[in-house]
Amino acid sequence: MKFISHVLTQTGRNLQKTWPTQFMTLLTVSLSVLIFAFFFLIYTNVMKASEKLGDNLRLTIYLEDEPVPEMQEQLKKKINDFNPVEKVLFVSRAEAFQRLAEQLGDDRDILTDMNPAFLPPSIEVYPEKDLNSLARIKVFSDYLATLPGATKVQYGHGWVERFHYFTKLIQLIVVLSGVLLILTSTFMVAYTIRLAVINRQAELEILRLLGATNSYIQMPFVIEGLLQGLLGSALGILSLHLLYRWIAKLFSGPTFLNLFEFTFFAPTTIGLIVAAGILLCTVGSLSAMRKFLRI
């Protein structure tokens, strides 16, 4: 207990003396956490949206002719053998016509003189939820195109592809901002501690002569790093939350943002980001001490 109170007093004195540098480091750490958390928030929401995309994914195989019941069973088996699916639905020409008429609603009159058999029969394939990677969807779609009687396979290819690349881009930005976070937190804290050690060389020398233990000398620096991590990441997350609330308020109402259910981090994720910030800054502080604080 006495050790803790003495070390905390010593830390308080150090912070009081070096607050301008400490404040700048705190801002840098906060900004890095804010940048990383911002892109990570977008990424997690995009991933959630992509899961939903998987939920609603449907591949439609257009056929030349309506398959007879035995043929339907064979096709179903072939599809399931290649990739197990949730549901396979056969749509006859008549059912397709009926659906179109329902979609047209009050304008269905335009179909009056049309031949009910003008639409092609099709098979609607509803894959299982785990089919959410673009590469696997493509392979599956290519296979479906080779089924007997298949003329074309549709699954909103262009849109899915664009979404996939967007996800990849966000993923890359998250990784880069993560690297930025690691570099800034570790190096800035290490630099600040280094400066503090250099500025306090005389004091450390006197402390050693008076019989200060290694932990008495080192602990305040470790606590400084830890505090930088804790306050910096908390401030970064708080700023992001305020930004999130501001954007949510700004775009409340019928806007494109409401197409997605955009949510903030879960408490566990916040805890993990703060813990990572603390860890990085403490590591920075320890590495600076190992290099510059010879005891």
């Binding site: 402390l207 002569l209 019989g211």
Partner: protein, 228 residues
């Protein structure tokens, strides 16, 4: 029980490139004894104190303090050893931007003494050395004499078993010198071993304690203890 506090046997200290500060110097100081080391500047008085406090290792010879061979002491044992020694350095080694109270308190803080005890002890020492009005003054704003008294207060703050004082009266007027010597006598009477390096003859001319004279890093004379 070992009654020896300090034992230097043929201690030699050579500073690079080849400056012999101390040569084959032997000294035994008993627990509770007060000893004066005297001699001209460069005689080796400060080097003796540095060897005893473990600040410098000897180039040759043995240095034992409280039964411990300092040359064989492990790094992790050094802090506890230094906490038992109070040293008033010739250049004071004070932190100029800290207050008088903070500078004195440092010696006790490193031993994790409780803050109230530190406060009381600091006030007591400031009163003894007539510095109570300087409690919150930064040491850079003090005169040399006042700084010297702060350094002495810090040296005795932690009730050390061994007090080493390097020219403790070098910047003091006769009245303050008497005050400081009274303080040392008080600690000596209470059982502390005290070694004072000085070239100020006034403080030991009528002493009953041992006076060792050094010249060119060697012991040249020992004045026997006068009988009171």
């Amino acid at each position: 029980m070992n009654k020896t506090m300090v034992d230097l046997v043929k201690a030699t200290k050579i500073y690079p490139p080849d400056v012999a500060a101390l040569e084959d110097f032997s000294l035994t100081v008993d627990k509770g004894e007060m000893v004066f080391l005297t001699g001209m500047s460069g005689a080796g008085k400060s080097t003796v104190l540095k060897l005893i406090s473990g600040i410098e290792p000897p180039t040759k010879g043995l240095v034992e303090v409280a039964g411990k061979d300092l040359t064989k002491m492990k790094a992790k044992e050094i802090p506890a050893f230094r906490q038992q020694i109070g040293m008033a350095h010739q250049d004071f080694k004070l932190l100029p931007d800290r207050t008088v109270a903070q500078n004195i308190g440092m010696a006790m803080e490193v031993s994790y003494e409780n803050f109230r005890a530190i406060r009381n002890r600091v006030n007591e020492l400031l009163q003894m050395l007539k510095l109570e009005h300087k409690h919150d003054t930064q040491t850079e704003k003090l005169s040399r004499g006042e700084q010297q008294r702060v350094a002495i207060a810090r040296a005795v703050a932690n009730y050390p078993v061994l007090i080493l004082a390097d020219e403790p009266t070098g910047n003091l007027d006769p009245v303050t010198t008497e005050l400081v010597m009274k303080l040392f006598k008080q600690y000596n009477d209470a059982g502390s071993t005290i070694i004072i390096a000085t070239h100020d003859e006034h403080i030991f001319q009528n002493t009953t304690h041992r006076v060792l004279e050094l010249a060119n890093g060697r012991l040249i004379a020992t004045r026997p203890t006068l009988q009171p």
